[in-house]
């Protein structure tokens, strides 16, 4: 089974090398989508042996994942595991995702809630629960951590899922797409490593509102 890690990165030169070094032992290939970084993210990623795609301008998380999925398909990936470039996901847990896919899951979501949101500030937890509710109300799919960046997709899921949104709304969109295509969705508990760095990279309340609005439009435009 050909396992690829897909890491979208935007100005992550301080953490990307570490993330790639720790990810390498668990995968057959690493794809980094440098989403218009102005720092050395892509140079470092290439030096670490990752396939690095560079967006000329910043297009957002959804666009970066879309590019990564296309590339993974071309490289003949059987499983694609997406993880964040800020170091909040422990690559050792990739095995859990691969196991879940082996047991028949098409889409696997790593849930921080199943491990009790350890180390997550309270206002973030509330935002997460709201994100879950919005995903459920708009798309009818319930998961315990709809905004998680740690996910896995098998080849079948990749062939079915269409990413249309550009930015943070993609997390909910992927779950909606899994539901629409009747894919088997499984959640595995994950532990997020919160550092001052990864927390500073989080999203603000305002971005949350914008994301909500775009999800409503996405729902209507179907």
């Amino acid at each position: 089974m050909k396992i690829f890690a897909l890491i979208p990165a935007f100005n992550e030169e301080t953490t990307i090398a570490d993330v790639l070094t720790h990810t390498r032992p668990f995968v057959d290939g690493m794809i980094v989508v440098d989403d218009g970084s102005t720092d050395r993210t892509s140079e470092i990623a290439r030096a670490q042996g990752a396939v690095c795609l560079r967006h000329v301008i910043n297009r957002g998380l959804g666009a970066a994942l879309g590019t990564g999925f296309e590339t993974a398909k071309r490289l003949g990936a059987d499983v694609v595991v997406t993880l964040d470039a800020d170091g909040q996901h422990d690559p050792e847990e990739i095995q859990k995702f691969v196991e879940a896919v082996g047991k028949g899951a098409d889409v696997v979501i790593g849930s921080r809630m199943l491990t009790g949101f350890v180390g997550m500030p309270i206002h973030r937890r509330i935002a997460q629960v709201l994100g879950n509710l919005v995903t459920f109300l708009l798309f009818g799919a319930w998961v315990t951590d709809s905004q998680s960046g740690y996910r896995a997709f098998n080849q079948f899921a990749l062939s079915k899922i269409q990413v249309k949104t550009n930015r943070m709304e993609v997390s909910s969109e992927l779950i909606a797409e899994a539901k629409r295509n009747a894919l088997t969705l499984v959640e595995v508990p994950i532990r997020a490593i919160y550092t001052d760095y990864s927390l500073s990279k989080g999203q603000s309340f305002f971005v949350g509102i914008k994301t909500l609005f775009k999800l409503v439009v996405r729902r209507l435009s179907r």
Partner: protein
């Protein structure tokens, strides 16, 4: 479709400008007090609708930009591979 919409829009605007009393007739029909009020309400609805259309259009354009950026990124990757061979 859009041409028809705009022709109708400007025709109505022209008629109301030249013959303001037509607005009063419409006002009585829909139960609003004055013709001028009908014009205001109709304009508001039109503006909100157009803003929504614009929003959707911008989303489409964003999607097209993403497709271009993706194509560029993937072509660049292809070139690197060829260089290695």
């Amino acid at each position: 479709m859009w041409l028809f919409f705009w022709i109708l829009f400007w025709l109505t605007a022209g008629v109301v400008a030249l013959l303001p009393q037509t607005a009063d007739t419409v006002a009585r029909l829909v139960g609003v007090g004055r013709g001028a009020d009908v014009v205001t309400y109709a304009s508001l609805i039109a503006i909100f609708y157009l803003i929504f259309r614009l929003y959707v259009k911008i989303e489409q354009v964003e999607g097209e930009i993403t497709r271009l950026v993706r194509k560029l990124a993937m072509d660049e990757m292809g070139e690197q591979k060829n260089d290695k061979d």
